[in-house]
Symmetry: C2
Subunit: 97 residues, 2 copies
């Protein structure tokens, strides 16, 4: 599930309208629609505003948001697993220092 699908699901569970949530976020309804549908990426501040508007745990939602951005970077790649392994190695080395 993408970030957009995820927040749409939550919004619908809570029976909120795009217009209501968007207004709380101070953005256009159209923009929120695009974010939910994945044709636009949310900015970090928007992800935060979403957490607030939807009463979700902020850092959790931000994690999900960032993970989504990474998936987006990787999605056309062939050896994703290999790349993620390299990432983990690099991270591990960083954290040791």
């Amino acid at each position: 599930m993408t970030f957009g699908e995820y927040i749409r699901e939550i919004r619908e569970e809570k029976q909120l309208l795009l217009r209501e949530v968007a207004s709380q976020m101070n953005i256009d309804t159209a923009l929120l629609s695009k974010i939910e549908r994945g044709t636009r990426l949310a900015r970090k501040e928007q992800a935060e505003a979403l957490a607030k508007a939807l009463k979700q745990n902020k850092s959790e939602l931000l994690q999900y948001w960032l993970a989504d951005k990474i998936v987006y970077m990787l999605k056309e790649e062939k050896n994703i697993t290999e790349i993620l392994k390299i990432v983990e190695q690099k991270i591990n080395r960083l954290s040791k220092k």
Copy 2:
């Protein structure tokens, strides 16, 4: 080791000058210097050109380059491991489809 450190190491092993490699890549020496020092990110085409100029396996170097970009995105985060887990889950779900 970052992407920049890595290619610098290879360049020095081969005793090539920044100017020589940069010229093969059709970029300014200063830019290559910055890429090696990590103050600028290489673009994909530049990573490819580097592979050629340094006679490295292109897709391998590109993997390294992309991994580096992801590390760069993550480096300020707190729960990197958690985020990477989410990424893997998402990837796994994607590949099943």
